[in-house]
Chain length 498, copies 2
C-alpha cells in the first residue's frame, strides 16, 4: 500500500488522525489510528500487556496495601557506603567504568559471580558466565538462541509471569506441569515429556524455579532434584534453572541448585536484583561452554554489552562490603515479613472457610493462596482494590488461562504491620464473597467455575501456544494434585504454618 | 535422543568431553563437543562473530595504534562532578534509583530527552519516548516487533555493523543502496524499493544514519532528506533514523533529522553513548504513538526495564551540569583529531597512489578510505597489524561481502599524535602493497579482485539474506557511484580536505 492508497481511505476535505499530511503537522503526537498495525511481525501480535502491569497503576496508590509487587525492600542496604563506592569508581576510574565493555561482561565481575554461586555449592569457571541485563535478559537470550516458533517449553504450574511473557513473544508453547508442596512432581514431568515427544512436539527445555518458587513459594525436595535432572536427561531436554531467591532462605536448609550436580545439562540463571538491588539490572547465565559463545553473540546483538557502570559498582560492592552478612540481614527482614503474613493468614482464614489453602515458603518473596472450589480470585480483584488491598490473580502465572482460583501474595515490600493490615482487608473481601455464595449458592453470576476443576490425569499433551490469545477450555493439563496446602492441615507433607 | 543414546556414541572405557557422566565430574568446564548444536533455533545459526570483535583482541594492545574502535574519548568528562552526582543519588534516593522502574523508562528522563532532541529541531512528547539499553537495544526491539524472517530492510552501503548483526539475527535480508558524498542517493533508493516490491519482497523499513555516518563519515544533504522521506512514504516504507552523532558536528552546519519534519513515518533512535558515556547503556527510541506501546511490551519482555541507576545518573547530569557546553568541548576535541587524520592522509596518501580516496566527515567519529582498484583492505589487515596499526576492513559494513577495497578509520579515541603515527604506519603498509603490485602485477596471489568492481546499475533486487553465510558473487547491487572521494579531488562535490 502506497501513501497514495493511504489517502484514498480518507474522504476529501476530512482530516483524520491517520493521514500523512495532517500527522506531519502535529509533531510529537503521532497518529491515533495505528497505520503501523499491518506491518508488525507475527511475534508482535503475541506481545500483550501482563495482568500485573495493568494492576500496578492502582496498586501503587499509598492507601492500598500492595501484596501484588515483587519489589525487594532496599531500606536495609548500606546506601551511604554504596554511594561512596560509586563516587570513587567514577572519579577514580570513570574512563573504564563509563566506557564500552565486553559483551560477555567484565571479567572481574564474572570471577566474583563464581564466588557468589559457590555459596550454593556451584563450582564454575568465570569463562562460562555471561552477564545479562537482569536475569530477565538471560531468559530472553536463552529463548532467542534455542527456540523456534512452535517449539515447546515445559514449566511449572504456576510459573514466573515474566518467563511466560518471553516464551509468548518468541511464539513458543508452554506445557505446565503440576507442583505440590515439594515442588515439581517428577512422575508428571516424565508423563508430560513422554506425551509431548510422542506427539512430535519439539520440547526445548524445562524452565524451573526450584528454590523459593515465584509465585508458588515452594521448593523442590532434594530427592526430586535428582529425579528431575535424570528425567530431563533421559528425554534429551535440558534444564533452565532460574534461581533469583536461592540465597534468601529463612532457615538452615541448604537448597542445592540442580546445576551443582549437573553442569552439562543445566543452564543456571542468577541475579543481583534480590541480594543487592534491581536498579542496576545485572543478572547472569552460567552455561555449558559451547552455549556460552552463542549467548555472547546474542548479547552483543541485543545491547552490545550489559551496563558497565552497574557491573563495576556491584563488583566493588562484592569486593569491599561484607555482602554475605548483608544477605543475612535481608533474610531476617524477609522472614519477619513472611511470619507476619503467615500468622495473619492462620489467624483469619480458617474461620472464613476451611478450604482456603496457602503455601509456607522457606525463603523468597511469595505465598500462593488458593480459594475454595467455585471461587474466582480474578473476578474478586476489583472488590479487593475497593477494600484497598492488592494481589495478583493466579491466572497471570499460567500460559493457558488456569489459576483463577488462586492468588499470589507477596510479603517482600510492605512492613509487617502493613502486611497484617493487608491480610485483614483481604480476609474481609473473601468473607464477603463466601457470604454471598452461602446466600445465593454457587449459581450466583459472581461465582465462576474455576477451570482448575477440569483437571485430570493427562494422556495428551497440553500446550498453550505463544500465539494463542484465549485458553482452550477443552485441553487437559499434566497433573492432578493441587500445588497448595492449608497452613494448619496435618495431612500436608511440609511444616505447619507458624 | 536420550541420555542412553548419548552414551552409545562413546566407545566403552573412553572418556570424551561430551559424555554426560564425565562432564558431570568436571564441574564448570562444560563439554568441548557441543551437544547443544542440534537444539539451537534457526536464528542462532545466523549469529556469528563480527569481524570487529575478532580484531579488537589484537588492536587493543598498547603498541598498536587502533584506528579500529568506536570508543568515545571520556577524558574530557567532568568525572569528579559525575561521581558526586552518583553518590548523592544513591545515598539520598537509593530506594528509588536502585529499585525496579518503568519499562518505558523514567518519566523525568524522557522529558529531558525531549529537551536534548529539541536542539536538533525535533518536537516530541515524553510519552512517545522509550528508553533502551543503548541505541543497540532500540535497533533490536524495532526489528523484533516489525520483522519476520525473510523480510527485507534497506540500508546504506556501507552500514553500521551492529545493525547488520541485528538484522542477521532476526533472519532479515538487507538490500544496500549506494551513497556518495551527500549521503544516500535518492534515485537509487527509489529504484531499489521499486525493484524489491515488484519482486514481492516485504520491505519493512529504511535503516539510515543520515548525519555523520558510521562508517562512511558523510551526511545526507538537506534536499535529499526531503527526497528520501518522500520516496519512503510513496513506497509505504517507514524510516528508522539512527542519530548517535548528530550533536557532534564540527562547524555551524545544522543537520536537521528526518524525524523533525516527518513524525508519523520516522522512528528516531538516539543515544547518550557519545554525548555522555556508553557505560551507562542508555539510548532511546522516539516512535509514533501506536508503535511506542509495542516497543514498551518488547522492552519489558527483554529486560523488564532499562537500568534505573543509569537513567537517574544521566537525568541528574542533564539537570545540574551544562551539558551543551560539554558537547561543545567534545566537538572541539574530536575536530582536532579529525583534522590530525585528514592532514596526515593528505600529506602521505597521494604520493603513494593517486586513486586512494577518503571521505571528509563534518562530525562524528569516522573516515572511510578506499584503496585503488584491485587492492584488498581485508587481506592487508594482518600486515597492518604487524606494522602496529589497526583498522576495520570495509567488508564488516556490508551484509553481502562487498567493501573489501575499503576500510573504516576512526579518530575518536587516540590522541592526535597517535593518529598521525597511525596514519604514517598505515601509509607504509599501503605503499608496500602497491610496490608489490607494481613489481608482480595484479595477478599476484596477494592482490584479490574486489567484488565492488562487479557493481552495475541494478534492475533485480539484491538482498543479502540474514541466514546466508557467504555472499553470492552473482548478485548485483543498487548503485554505481562509489561513496568515497579523494581529499584533494577537485571533481568532488564536497569541500576539499583541510
Amino acid at each position: 500500500m502506497s501513501a497514495a492508497d493511504d489517502n484514498r481511505l480518507t474522504a476529501p476535505g476530512s482530516d483524520p488522525a491517520g493521514s500523512s499530511e495532517s500527522a506531519a503537522l502535529r509533531p510529537g503526537t503521532g497518529s491515533r489510528l495505528d497505520r503501523y498495525l499491518p506491518r508488525y511481525a507475527a511475534r508482535a501480535h503475541s506481545m500483550t500487556s501482563s495482568e500485573i502491569r495493568a494492576l500496578f497503576a492502582v496498586a501503587s496508590r499509598p492507601e492500598v496495601v500492595s501484596l501484588a509487587g515483587g519489589m525487594p525492600n532496599l531500606a536495609d542496604l548500606p546506601l551511604d557506603a554504596v554511594g561512596e563506592l560509586a563516587a570513587d569508581l567514577i572519579a577514580g576510574s570513570g574512563r573504564q567504568s563509563l566506557q564500552y565493555g565486553s559483551g560477555q561482561g567484565e571479567p572481574f565481575l564474572r570471577e566474583l559471580i563464581c564466588d557468589v554461586m559457590a555459596v550454593s555449592g556451584i563450582s564454575a569457571h568465570a569463562d562460562d558466565v555471561v552477564v545479562t541485563v537482569g536475569s530477565q535478559q538471560a531468559l530472553d537470550l536463552v529463548t532467542r538462541i534455542f527456540c523456534d516458533p512452535g517449539d515447546v517449553v515445559v514449566a511449572e504450574a504456576p510459573s514466573y509471569v515474566g518467563a511466560l511473557g518471553v516464551f509468548r513473544s518468541y511464539q513458543v508453547g508452554v506445557a505446565h506441569v503440576e507442583m505440590d508442596d515439594d515442588g515439581l512432581i517428577p512422575e508428571l514431568l516424565d508423563q508430560a515429556l513422554t506425551a509431548l515427544q510422542a506427539a512430535g512436539r519439539r520440547v526445548k527445555f524445562l524452565y524451573t524455579i526450584p528454590t523459593f518458587h515465584n509465585p508458588a513459594g515452594v521448593s523442590l525436595a532434594p530427592d526430586r532434584r535428582r529425579e528431575v535432572a535424570r528425567i530431563c536427561r533421559e528425554h534429551d531436554v535440558f534444564v533452565v534453572e532460574d534461581d533469583p531467591y536461592g540465597l534468601l532462605g529463612f532457615d538452615a536448609t541448604v537448597h542445592r541448585p540442580l546445576r551443582a550436580d549437573d553442569p552439562d545439562n543445566v543452564l543456571y540463571l542468577g541475579s543481583f536484583s534480590k541480594t543487592f538491588a534491581p536498579g542496576t539490572r545485572i543478572g547472569w547465565v552460567l552455561a555449558p561452554h559451547g552455549v556460552r559463545e552463542k549467548l555472547v553473540l546474542a548479547q552483543e546483538s541485543a545491547t552490545l554489552c550489559p551496563p558497565i557502570l552497574s557491573q563495576h559498582l556491584i563488583g566493588r560492592y562484592l569486593q569491599t562490603q561484607d555482602w554475605m552478612s548483608q544477605i543475612k540481614v535481608f533474610r531476617e527482614m524477609y522472614r519477619e515479613r513472611r511470619d507476619a503474613m503467615l500468622d495473619s493468614l492462620s489467624e483469619l482464614m480458617p474461620a472464613i472457610h476451611p478450604d482456603i489453602r496457602w503455601t509456607v515458603p522457606g525463603g523468597g518473596f511469595y505465598v500462593w493462596l488458593t480459594l475454595p472450589a467455585g471461587m474466582d480470585a480474578k473476578a474478586m480483584q476489583p472488590r479487593a482494590l475497593s477494600a484497598r488491598v492488592a494481589y495478583v490473580s493466579g491466572t497471570a502465572f499460567f500460559a493457558d488461562g488456569f489459576g483463577s482460583r488462586s492468588m499470589r501474595l507477596s510479603y517482600c515490600h510492605p512492613t509487617p504491620d502493613r502486611i497484617r493490615e493487608g491480610v485483614r482487608r483481604l480476609a474481609g473481601v473473601i468473607r464477603a464473597e463466601t457470604d454471598i455464595r452461602a446466600l445465593f449458592g454457587a449459581s450466583s453470576p459472581d461465582v465462576l467455575t474455576d477451570r482448575q476443576d477440569q483437571r485430570g490425569a493427562a494422556a495428551a499433551p497440553d500446550v498453550a501456544e505463544g500465539e494463542r490469545a484465549a485458553p482452550d477450555p477443552s485441553v487437559v493439563r499434566h497433573g492432578v494434585r493441587p500445588g497448595v496446602r492449608h497452613g494448619g492441615d496435618a495431612d500436608g507433607p511440609g511444616p505447619a504454618t507458624r
